[in-house]
């Protein structure tokens, strides 16, 4: 992963200052489903009330039934107790259901909004944002925010209302004792916060060490052959044991701290029970306290453990969830850099001459990619772009597709500044075949139809035939209905290019752009690709980032780029005669290509069927 990703990841580990605005936005997010929120708020407060109520009924059963020897009163109370349990069950059902639904709805909303926003962001955003970063926004961050709005909020409300209601009952039963219990609350809260903070620190260490251990494993398994040949087993193991030692320290510490948390709370609340026994006992003698009352106090105080634990948990996880929310909103607030002008027009076709007029472009201010770039391409002409990596070939293509816009200068199509057109008008008329063609998971047919969604299957087959892809497709077990696998893993690079050619042919573009594959493609497929390209280029303005001599030679004009400038330009014959850069490139390429083309070792070369391929 890139540095940027690592930094963002690190940011996740630190508690930063949280903007109030974020909290407000999260609340608004939940309020979009206000009926669910109201539903679980009522149900959870109801639950807290019913819980305390049950204890209170149990007290009355003792005082009014058992101590008073009154079976009728006991029966009445028992029936009430039964009813109350039904109410409890209903409340539990409602809060689980509404909080769960709310959580999933909010997650759904956030994912939907982020996806929609991402579709409109410019390519530059994707270039500076690693996929891994976006993935964790879409997965773990969304989950955290969804859970905070629902379960986190629910637990907090439950915790608070439970304590408040239980205290009210206690004050009602016996206000003096109730006040003593109330006095214990700050201590309990302080203990909870004290522990949660420390445990959190250790858990973070555990998480970090865990990922270090995983990468140590992955490195040693991937490099096992080197480890063996350099006899590094001992050294590696010693380094690794340092990691597992640290892991042990952090994990054990976190574990025993957690194990200490509840007992500490328990012991403090035992002071409450002791007070109940002592003072309650004294008051029992003068009639101020009943047996049932003592029982109720013991129950209330014992139970107080849980709301405190839950609230401590919520507080601990809230910080992280807020940081997640902040990142999600930063994505949602991202503005696309390239947008339609207010008066941009939609045109059905973008035919005509293309002019790059004094174009300057950089991705990063200190490294200009194109400076004062001028090029005029006639309608229907084929241009081969040639030059070393970083010379600006892809940039020209990116500008042409308006994935980026020139910082200085203009690009005109048919004499008109292309920013006067809508993005859709331009991009829907450009056909593109990438060097490593991207296929979507789905069938072969679906991938071809991507070029023109409303096309019929027959048209798709026709396009495949023109592209020269029909042959290999029908050889596949399920023909056009074959699944290509994620990213097209089940197909070879050559086959993928044929498919993306078919896709581009189906789109019937006005401008065609091709980035040739550098990796070797077998001769037959190569010939098919060439044929398909030629059909597609006919009558269309075409730009080819060319790697193969046959393609280069066939272009109307060759643009040799060097450091963002046109070094040489002209037809193959013209450039050869100049004996310049092109000549050198050409002769070198010729040697390389030929030595590959001749089957040096006979027919079995290139077939890695035997054991060597997986033993290497």
């Amino acid at each position: 992963m890139s540095d940027e990703y690592y930094d963002e990841f690190a940011e996740e580990e630190f508690e930063g200052h949280v903007d109030r605005g974020v909290i407000w936005r999260i609340i608004m997010q939940g309020l979009q489903h206000w009926h669910l929120m109201v539903g679980f708020l009522i149900a959870i407060v109801g639950t807290a009330y019913v819980d305390s109520r049950l204890t209170f009924l149990s007290k009355r059963m003792i005082d009014e039934g058992i101590v008073a020897q009154d079976v009728d009163a006991l029966r009445a109370l028992a029936i009430q107790y039964g009813y109350t349990f039904v109410v409890l069950a209903v409340c539990v059902f409602v809060f689980i259901f509404s909080a769960g639904v709310l959580s999933h709805r909010v997650q759904y909303d956030l994912r939907k909004a982020m996806f929609a926003r991402l579709q409109n962001l410019s390519l530059s955003y994707y270039n500076r944002t690693p996929l891994g970063w976006l993935m964790s926004r879409m997965t773990s961050d969304v989950t955290r925010v969804g859970e905070l709005v629902s379960w986190g909020f629910l637990d907090a409300v439950w915790g608070i209302s439970n304590i408040v209601i239980a205290l009210s009952f206690m004050l009602y039963i016996n206000w003096r004792l109730g006040l003593i219990i109330l006095a214990l609350m700050p201590v309990l809260v302080w203990i909870a916060i004290f522990f949660q903070k420390r445990i959190l620190v250790d858990y973070r260490a555990v998480r970090r060490l865990n990922s270090e251990i995983t990468s140590a494993y992955s490195e040693s398994i991937n490099g096992v052959r080197v480890v063996k040949s350099l006899r590094r087993e001992e050294g590696n193991l010693n380094e690794f044991r340092h990691l597992t030692g640290d892991m042990y320290d952090a994990a054990f510490r976190a574990a025993w701290m957690s194990a200490l948390f509840l007992p500490s709370v328990q012991i403090v609340s035992a002071l409450g029970i002791a007070a109940t026994v002592w003072l309650g006992g004294i008051q029992y003698n003068n009639g101020g306290m009943t047996i049932g009352g003592i029982q109720a106090f013991v129950s209330y105080v014992t139970f107080m453990l849980w709301p405190i634990q839950e609230m401590a948990r919520v507080v601990a996880s809230m910080q992280q969830a807020l940081a997640s929310a902040e990142r999600i909103y930063s994505l949602l607030d991202e503005e696309p850099e390239i947008i339609n002008k207010a008066d941009a027009v939609d045109v059905p076709h973008v035919r005509g001459d293309i002019e790059f007029d004094h174009v300057d472009f950089y991705y990063d201010e200190n490294n200009p990619v194109l400076t004062d770039f001028n090029l005029t391409v006639k309608q229907g002409e084929t241009i081969a772009l040639v030059g070393p990596t970083g010379s600006g070939k892809s940039t020209i293509v990116n500008l042409l597709c308006r994935f980026y816009e020139p910082q200085v200068g203009q690009i005109r199509i048919n004499g008109r500044d292309y920013t006067d057109l809508t993005l859709y008008a331009l991009q829907s008329r450009v056909g593109m075949v990438l060097q490593t063609p991207h296929l979507f998971s789905g069938t072969v047919m679906e991938n071809i139809l991507y070029g023109r969604l409303e096309a019929t299957p027959d048209e798709a087959v026709e396009a495949a035939k023109v592209a020269g892809a029909h042959g290999f497709i029908t050889d596949l077990e399920e023909g056009y209905e074959t699944e290509v696998g994620e990213g097209g893993v089940l197909l070879s690079v050559g086959q993928k290019q044929l498919l993306s050619l078919a896709r581009a042919i189906l789109a019937q573009p006005d401008i065609f752009i091709m980035d040739e594959a550098t990796s070797s493609v077998d001769t037959l497929t190569e010939a098919l690709i060439q044929q398909g390209m030629e059909t597609l280029m006919e009558g269309r303005t075409s730009f080819v980032i060319a790697h193969r001599l046959s393609t280069i030679k066939r272009a109307d004009r060759i643009v040799v780029l060097k450091d963002g400038k046109i070094d040489e330009i002209g037809s193959h014959a013209e450039l050869i005669r100049q004996r310049g850069h092109y000549f050198n490139l050409y002769t070198k390429q010729f040697r390389d290509e030929k030595s590959l083309a001749y089957k040096v070792y006979g027919d079995q070369s290139g077939e890695n069927s035997s054991a060597d391929s997986w033993a290497a």
Binding site: F97, W256, I267, E486, I513, D612, A616
Partner: protein, 634 residues
């Protein structure tokens, strides 16, 4: 306490594995058994203390409060309550601490052992397993086993103790009939709980699956963003995402609904049970069958019998996944390691490097792969057992014989899959061959311990591999002596990578690997070459070591190597004629057999593969000349 451990040997897991899952999990606790038993015992004591608190409450009501001088006893009683609570807390803490102690130690032991074990398993094992799957096992499976000790076993113990202690307490101290009537719903709740958590497990799997479907769709969209934009398909993509997104919402809500049903329904069951107990108990108290104090104690104790049972299902299902994780780890642990020190020959000095292959044949073992297929398809397993030895072998080398004098250079030429790499992989004893013999300096290869051979042989592999760390660390990786800067620079210069390294801002301290700079394929190859040169091996093997290096740099490396080559026996695997021309012996391999051998002079005049390769060069130059002539003319 744990620091000392790193000086000791890694605990040998092999001696505690067991064919039975539960026995195996028990045996894993070796050395921590006392501690772990104490942890479990502490759970029981904590349960006792808690019950004690409630029983004391009954005592308070029955025996103290009615006394006229109760006030005198109350402080002591209050103190007893605090004491019992402290006992309960203390035991709870102890059980948590000792259980974590055991669990973390076992996890650490497993991590250490498996790390070491994996790097000592033979090539044959690694050839046939997938990295991703191994990593999955050593991370999440170890974690599942760890949780078994720290959470599930202790949790199940806790529920059982609470149940038993309180049930017996009610039975013997309060009333047997009341005790029996208090557990009527328990079997139902237990069954419901197990059934429910199995369902939850399934629903959760479904949810996870949908999560990964959604992630894949998202990832595909992002990595295909240029295509999406180039075809202006944003709306279409949004619709497709929407499909899976709303599906995930529904699967999630379904998952929630299961919980929404289980908890309230069992609330009713358990509530009914409570009510039954309270009703019967209260009537008994009114009738004088039990005292009020006893009723009070009962009213609290019955809570501890009923409610915890609902979690039993969760713990049991989790424990059973931990047991499955155990078997997956055991499967790795039981594999046989390479024996690095096996071999009777104890060499006192370095090898001279005279090597002889005599009629050597070799085939790859694919038994692991076939094993996987067989377990998936057990029908006919028995029938195939007889010829399995044959089916598990892929022959790669046939009757290889040749001799190399010390200090000579051997070049090996051949197509992909002709057995070049397999042949030299036999020298450091990465694999065992089937028949024939190999000698080095007249001693049978199998008499040399592999660790000695690997110290004497330097390999530069086809696929360069760098570890995350600095460039300096990577170059000195296999060297166990003090390395001076001069040595380091000399090796880097010979590999033509010194200047490249200095061009980085941090020079030799530049980080490479996952979090460092990305080197090009050629640069990586040159760093690994420098690494091997620095090791200064007696036998040097260059396995297509400069394939990604450009022609100019390659000839630079060739010049540097010329000085080194004469001093040690060297094997060069290459495709380009220039790289092999100077060798003392050229071997041409085809389908695992040596089809041509000799010097460049001899081979070039002999019809065959070598001549074809050589002629090609000239032919290409002719064609190029013709081509240029034609273009100039036209």
């Amino acid at each position: 306490m744990n620091r000392d451990e790193s000086n000791n040997k890694v605990y040998d897991m092999k001696k505690v594995v067991s064919p039975n899952k539960l026995t195996g999990l028990w045996r894993l606790t070796d050395q921590f058994r006392t501690v772990y038993l104490v942890a479990i015992l502490a759970v029981g004591l904590a349960a006792l203390a808690q019950t004690g608190i409630y029983y004391l409450l009954g005592y308070l009501v029955d025996d103290i409060l009615p006394e006229p001088d109760a006030i005198l006893y109350l402080p002591w009683l209050a103190l007893a309550f605090v004491g019992l609570a402290a006992g309960q807390g203390g035991f709870t803490y102890m059980s948590g601490r000792w259980a974590a102690y055991t669990a973390e130690h076992i996890a650490r032991r497993l991590r250490d052992y498996l790390y070491d074990h994996l790097q000592r398993l033979p090539f044959t094992y690694h050839d046939q397993t997938q990295t991703g799957e191994l990593i999955q096992r050593v991370t999440s499976d170890i974690d599942a086993v760890r949780l078994f000790y720290s959470e599930q076993a202790i949790g199940i113990g806790r529920i059982i103790f609470l149940f038993t202690v309180n049930l017996l307490g009610i039975y013997f101290l309060i009333d047997p009939y009341l005790a029996m009537m208090s557990v009527v719903v328990i079997p139902f709740v237990l069954i419901a709980s197990i059934f429910f958590f199995i369902q939850v497990g399934k629903a959760f799997e479904l949810f996870q699956e949908q999560e990964s479907v959604l992630s894949n769709r998202f990832q595909e969209n992002i990595s295909g963003v240029r295509v999406v934009k180039a075809f202006a398909r944003q709306e279409y993509e949004t619709e497709r995402f929407e499909e899976e997104n709303s599906k995930k919402r529904w699967v999630g809500i379904r998952f929630t609904s299961l919980h929404g049903l289980f908890w309230p329904i069992t609330d009713i069951f358990c509530g009914g049970q409570m009510l039954l107990g309270y009703w019967l108990g209260a009537n008994m108290a009114i009738n004088g069958d039990i005292t009020i104090g006893q009723y009070l104690a009962y009213a609290q104790m019955v809570n501890l019998i009923i409610w915890p049972i609902r979690n039993m299902g969760r713990l049991i299902t989790q424990a059973s996944t931990a047991a499955v994780s155990y078997t997956r780890l055991r499967d790795i642990i039981e594999r046989k390691r390479e024996k690095l020190s096996e071999g009777v020959f104890r060499a006192q000095t370095d090898l001279a490097g005279a090597i002889c292959f005599n009629d050597v044949s070799f085939s790859y073992d694919t038994s692991l792969k076939n094993e996987a297929v067989k377990t998936a398809n057990t029908v006919g397993y028995m029938a195939q057992a007889n010829d399995s030895d044959q089916r598990n072998k892929i022959p790669v080398l046939h009757n290889i014989s040749f001799e190399v004098g010390e200090g000579q250079t051997v070049a090996i030429l051949g197509a992909t899959g002709s057995g070049k790499t397999s042949m030299i992989n036999l020298l450091p004893r990465f694999y065992d061959f089937d028949s024939g013999y190999i000698t080095i300096d007249g001693v049978d290869l199998r008499e040399y311990p592999p660790e000695y051979l690997r110290q004497q042989i330097g390999l530069v592999m086809q696929e360069p591999f760098l570890f995350s760390g600095t460039i300096r660390e990577n170059i000195t990786y296999g060297v166990y002596r003090e390395v001076t800067d001069e040595d380091l620079f000399a090796a880097a210069k010979a590999a033509a990578v010194h200047d490249v390294i200095l061009s980085f801002p941090d020079g030799y301290s530049t980080l490479v690997g996952e979090r460092g700079v990305t080197l090009s394929g050629g640069q990586k190859q040159r760093v690994t070459l420098a690494r091997t040169l620095l090791k200064n091996p007696r036998i040097l093997v260059l396995d297509d070591a400069t394939s990604a290096v450009d022609t100019e740099t390659e000839s630079q490396i060739r010049d540097a190597l010329k000085q080194i080559l004469g001093q040690r026996t060297t094997f060069i695997i290459a495709h380009r004629v220039q790289s092999v021309m100077l060798a003392d012996l050229i071997l041409v391999l085809d389908e695992g057999r040596i089809v041509q051998r000799g010097t460049h002079q001899e081979l070039v005049n002999q019809p065959g593969i070598y001549q074809r390769v050589y002629d090609l060069q000239a032919r290409i130059e002719d064609e190029l000349a013709a081509e240029l002539m034609a273009d100039n003319g036209g």
